[in-house]
């Protein structure tokens, strides 16, 4: 059979196809049998298979040294898409295992749960591999539609329903803004693909720079919603708090990483396309203001929370701000810094939610800080795990969170955003307060009669915690394992 040449190198689609096939298998398995215990394993097999294919393609691409495309350039296999696909799949795998350990208690064993997780991850892969704005939108919608449902998963829970509804309405609005931005960008350049937009804007007789700027701003707003840049972060605390905790963990790693992959590619292209001069300065300036606001709002918001889950939600906003510094820095250095930050954040975030899951009530409620009182003596290992994660998230050496912040600030300063980096460092000091509060409550505060006892940890959850902890320590001590690997890759930013 002869494929039309426009189809390109279809092998780059294999990880996405694997996830979709396993989503279908898991769904059929779920409706034909009553064997609920096997669903998580089947889903995990799919994620691991996709991960193996991604690594294989990545190695092959490094050896070949060129980006491959499929479907007429709509789908790209380059350093950015492989690195971010890798992070997404790691996060998805950890979230699947985490959900599996608590599946009966949290009613996560309906046949539809795991297929939706896999489809959301597949959408994430499409999002970071998109070579044009239409494919990007497609990936965003595949991912978002699945996550809207997952956020509202808890039956007869008002907060979960509220989370799903809020996320859906605001997400649909953001998608509409994004579509409008894509249309304006197309109107200005006549192209959807990133390479074409760059080429059209570079032409000497390109006159529609103002229109392109308008389109770029709308696209930025649409994506800023997904990564939760202030002032588009308002949905996040409510959605993260209301969604079932394993879904919150999934959102904080998979959805965030995928959206940042798309944001890096889009802003990289659009900032270059707008060029220098008064018009070219608007987009970075808007981005800088938004990122500064995000760091302030996220950290001070987290400071005011009395619930640990909600505190982690606000801190997710703050971390989005730090990754935003890398987006603003742009270029290869920015992409590499962002990938390290998101890679290590994935482990820390999932591990934090894993610990939290064993401290909350049966119905996934109750996350007040006082519950942690005396945990250091009653459950020393659990407390130590949470302490390490909190210190890493706060940015203490020698953990991965410290290196993550260091490379991000470094990239921002090198790109000439020293003032914003200083703001980032100052807000990181604020962050120490609320992370340390968790540690101090565990070790210094005496439990009273009402302090609930932490439940025994399912073995699978313990595995997630162990992986998260090990990665936080190992990649903190040896950051070169990721950074050198990424830096040595032939980095094909030319094609963005």
């Amino acid at each position: 059979m002869n494929l039309p040449p426009i189809m390109g190198d279809l092998v780059v689609l294999v990880p996405v196809v694997t996830l979709v096939v396993f989503a279908a298998l898991t769904l059929l398995f779920g409706v034909f049998t009553r064997e609920r215990a096997a669903l998580g394993g089947l889903a995990l097999t799919g994620v691991i298979a996709a991960l193996v294919f991604t690594v294989f393609l990545w190695l092959q691409a490094r050896a070949g040294g060129v980006a491959v495309t499929a479907l007429g350039g709509a789908f790209r296999g380059d350093a950015l898409s492989y690195a971010f696909s890798f992070i997404i799949l790691i996060g998805a795998g950890l979230a699947v295992v985490l959900a599996d350990g608590h599946r009966v208690r949290l009613q996560l064993d309906q046949p539809e749960f795991h297929p939706l997780l896999l489809l959301a991850a597949a959408g994430g892969l499409v999002l970071v591999s998109a070579g044009d704005l239409v494919t990007l939108l497609l990936g965003l919608e595949i991912m978002s539609l699945a996550v809207y449902v997952l956020a509202a998963w808890r039956e007869r829970s008002r907060v979960s329903e509220e989370a799903g509804m809020k996320y859906f309405l605001l997400g649909a609005f953001a998608s509409a803004v994004l579509v409008y931005g894509i249309a304006l960008t197309f109107g200005a350049t006549g192209r959807f693909d990133f390479a074409g937009i760059a080429a059209a804007a570079a032409a000497p007789d390109f006159a529609a720079r103002g229109l392109l700027l308008l389109g770029a701003l709308f696209v930025l707003v649409g994506l800023a919603f997904k990564v939760a840049f202030a002032p588009f972060h308002q949905w996040l605390p409510d959605v993260y708090t209301g969604a079932p905790t394993p879904v919150t963990a999934f959102m904080s790693v998979v959805v965030k990483t995928a959206a940042f992959g798309a944001l890096l590619r889009t802003t990289g292209t659009l900032v270059d396309a707008l060029g220098v001069g008064p018009i070219g300065e608007v987009l970075p300036a808007v981005l800088a203001v938004s990122i500064g606001l995000t760091m302030v709002v996220g950290n001070f918001g987290a400071l005011l929370q009395s619930g640990v889950k909600r505190m982690l939600a606000y801190s997710a906003v703050a971390h989005a701000g730090y990754v935003g510094l890398a987006v603003l820095a742009g270029g290869d250095a920015g992409v590499q810094a962002a990938s390290y930050y998101l890679f290590t954040y994935t482990f820390a975030s999932v591990a934090a939610f894993a610990v939290l899951l064993s401290l909350m009530d049966d119905d996934d409620r109750g996350d007040r800080l006082e519950r942690l009182a005396g945990l250091g003596r009653r459950r020393p290992w659990l407390a130590a795990a949470l302490a390490v994660i909190m210190l890493s998230l706060a940015g203490f050496p020698p953990f991965a969170g410290f290196i993550g912040k260091a490379v991000v600030f470094q990239a921002a300063i090198a790109a000439g955003h020293a003032a914003l980096a200083v703001l980032g460092i100052s807000t990181a000091v604020v962050a120490v307060v609320f992370y340390a509060r968790v540690v101090m409550t565990m070790y210094l505060r005496e439990p009273d009669a009402h302090t609930p006892v932490a439940r025994p940890i399912p073995r699978r959850t313990a595995v997630v915690m162990a992986i998260g902890l090990a990665a936080t320590v190992v990649f903190g001590l040896f950051p070169g394992l990721w950074l050198d690997w990424i830096a040595r890759a032939p980095w094909w930013s030319a094609g963005f």
């Binding site: 279908a24 059929l28 409706v31 034909f32």
Partner: protein
């Protein structure tokens, strides 16, 4: 190029506004119970439209979408089938397989079992 579009918006806005204004100025101001009905000459409305309806209908909607998408995709495919018969045939099979998953799912969920 966009002037035509602007003219169309203005014309549409003018006609809509004119219809409302002229109607309000010249129209007779009689209201009876019948005139205020949602369907003036239809059957009398009973109750509100904002009722809860059985969640079972989402399965019917899925069934509809499965077959609707299938036709929407197959018409253009049939028209262009001569271009690359083997390639399009494989594509059609894959497409039906994906829809088949949704179809089997809806069947197993009991879409045809009315209680």
């Amino acid at each position: 190029m966009y002037e035509n579009l602007l003219m169309m918006f203005l014309a549409a806005g003018f006609i809509a506004a004119a219809a409302l204004v002229v109607g309000a100025l010249l129209g007779p101001k009689r209201t009876t119970d019948d005139l205020l009905e949602a369907y003036e000459s239809g059957i009398p409305a009973t109750g509100t439209a904002r009722e809860r309806f059985p969640v079972h209908f989402y399965l019917v909607a899925m069934l509809f979408i499965v077959f609707d998408i299938e036709t929407a995709f197959f018409f253009p495919l049939a028209v262009r089938f001569g271009m690359a018969p083997q390639f399009l045939f494989v594509q059609a099979i894959l497409f039906v397989a994906i829809l088949g998953v949704a179809y089997v799912y809806v069947l197993r969920k009991g879409v045809l079992r009315w209680k």
